[in-house]
Subunit: 385 residues, 2 copies
């Protein structure tokens, strides 16, 4: 049993700052739960000068990730660089060096998860990625462990806070997409380049991970159709309102025999459905499983401190496994990646007519009481714009 | 590493039947995730003849729990006897014999959790109790592990499905409490003796557990005030509706410095709050924590199959720790029970005036957008009857 678990953090941006703040603030609480202290020994970032509002002891901040990846005294690497280039290299190098990895990088895992998870399982190290979907909502843990004994038939919800914020604001305050996006950018609530968020790409990345966790299969990322929210106008909003719907950007995956429905698009959600009331930067994910039925998980899906809670929860889990000599106790996806079949995605053409059928069904009495376990209350209606 | 994890189940009632069904149905899935099969080797129940709709191999069903507790080949004991008498003895005997325990028994843990958790930690065995709160919703796991790095300031919600079902039905269909309870009993949706459910006792037991998990402290069970729903009438319902509220039976706990607010009572919930739309047998628990903010967990809080998913999730976690030699990796409460201080409960008198203050505040514009992180949208108004 070791004396402390030692962290190296690569990428000192917003989330990294949150992780350091939370670790400093809750140091004693975390140590008391895990049994030993968790120490941040090194932080790597190209920018050594920017003031992020947290203090690091002299010598902790370095310009080069190699100082972390090559340091045998560092147990766990937190990757917060983002993107799929350098981040992939850092993660694979950390795994090769026998370090555990914690990351918030959904793009990386959506594109290179197969390679990374397989490398981690071979090396007997852990890869935690709770922060990659739903921010601080422990949805990854829930799918891997909480619902582990059940079979999921659907997973869907609001997984991009920026899109939801823009749609919520368009609905509550009026204003067309371009103006509302601009205001959100000015308020720091949307990235300068918001394309990943508002074009459904980020949501598709997250859906690719949710599918693997919920259904135990992998689908090609390129097969997930992603439609953004740029074309939604106030005319759509008022049309939706008039007929008792809210427009939400949903990521939707369902099992259809051996195939998987997988798509991101603006959706007409009946006003009585709980998802219709999920506004602002909140995320909410509904899981439909055979024995449990529908369950929903809701909270802030992004932001410095919410995301930091997920990163540190993963660090604590890794620390516990290190202390108890049980690394690899739960594989990254909850099952061995070598047992993961590939599945085909149902072509969108086959779904289109189905939507409208569901749309027709939704007004029957009593549907509201079911909270939306089935298609009837979800009422996915494509192409609301 | 052992070849299989062997279970003994004590108490072959509704939940026990669900556990056996789910284990039989998902045997291969579970084995593939955990790495070895999980085998049910013995079931003990006084009633050997009743047909529960599941088949057990000859010799598995026995009349005496001793055949499980004294069998050195049984690794894990699932306690589904209920109550605080024999169940306590069975659990303590299992722990003393070095077996891990999984239970759905909130009454037992609310009354004797201190003794049981301490015994388990001393013996180095695990006690899983995910099924005791929120049925299949993984709220225990979420508080122990998902939100482990954060500090919770409040936990509240709908934790008794029977009460929520009755209130929902009174609201949607009319009818006074006594008649609706009778109908629910006829439909098998309420126990013949519904007192634990409708008098707030079951919710108080659950709240006692949530407090320990969320705040790291223990309060005396007798200090949690529990007010049931028997006195709610249609006059209250229409009054609430007129002013934009729903009446929900909530369990509420908040940190107030060193003290804890802890109470169960019918509550006026503003229509826009997500909890107001949680109807029927659903449970929903809101956690307010410092870094994450508000998060909510929703699903079926009772019933054969939902509860069985939680029991088997615990069994899988125990099995993983057995296989990896990491039993005791996470203590029952997420932190060592010896580090758990006792806390005082804020007397109800001190809260009463505060309610009405909150009640006055709730109509301000913009409150809806916050989803109810703070008191303002929760609007606990005691004594609605």
């Amino acid at each position: 049993m070791q004396g402390a678990v030692r962290l190296g953090l690569v990428g000192f941006g917003t989330i990294g700052t949150g992780v350091i703040k939370l670790l400093q603030r809750n140091r004693a609480l975390i140590a008391s739960k895990v049994g030993v202290p968790i120490e941040l020994v090194r932080v790597a970032d190209i920018d050594l000068t920017r003031d992020r509002g947290v203090r690091l002891p002299h010598g902790v901040l370095v310009p080069d990730a190699a100082a972390i990846l090559e340091d045998p005294n560092i147990d766990v690497v937190i990757e917060l660089v983002g993107g799929t280039g350098a981040a992939r290299r850092f993660v694979l190098e950390a795994i090769a060096a026998g370090k555990d990895v914690v990351t918030a990088n959904k793009a990386l895992l959506a594109h290179h998860g197969g390679e990374i998870f397989a490398a981690a399982e071979r090396a007997g190290v852990e890869v935690g990625f709770e922060a990659s979907v739903g921010g601080g909502i422990p949805i990854i843990r829930t799918l891997k462990e909480g619902l582990a004994a059940d079979r999921c038939s659907a997973v869907y919800g609001i997984v991009n806070g920026t899109s939801n914020y823009i749609l919520s604001r368009m609905s509550s305050e009026g204003g067309e997409f371009a103006a509302v996006l601009k205001a959100a950018q000015a308020d720091g609530l949307a990235e300068a380049d918001a394309s990943f968020d508002v074009d459904g790409i980020d949501a598709a990345h997250k859906l690719a991970l949710l599918i693997q966790l919920a259904f135990g299969v992998r689908v090609p990322l390129t097969a997930i159709s992603a439609e953004g929210i740029r074309h939604i106008s106030q005319i759509d909003m008022s049309f939706a309102r008039e007929f008792g719907f809210a427009i939400k950007s949903l990521a939707i995956a369902k099992r259809q025999g051996d195939r998987i429905e997988a798509r991101v698009h603006p959706t007409m959600v009946r006003r009585q459905h709980l998802l219709a009331d999920v506004n602002g930067a909140l995320n909410a994910i509904v899981v439909q499983s055979d024995a449990l039925g529908a369950s929903m998980y809701l909270g802030l899906g992004a932001g410095m401190m919410p995301t930091a809670t997920a990163v540190l929860a993963d660090v604590m889990a890794v620390a516990r496994d290190r202390l108890h000599g049980s690394r690899g106790r739960v594989p990254p996806l909850g099952y061995p990646v070598r047992k993961q079949p590939r599945a085909r995605v149902v072509p969108l053409d086959e779904l289109e007519s189905e939507y409208y059928l569901r749309f027709m069904v939704v007004d029957r009495p009593g549907v509201k009481e079911n909270f939306g376990c089935g298609d009837a209350t979800l009422t996915p209606a494509s192409g609301v714009g």
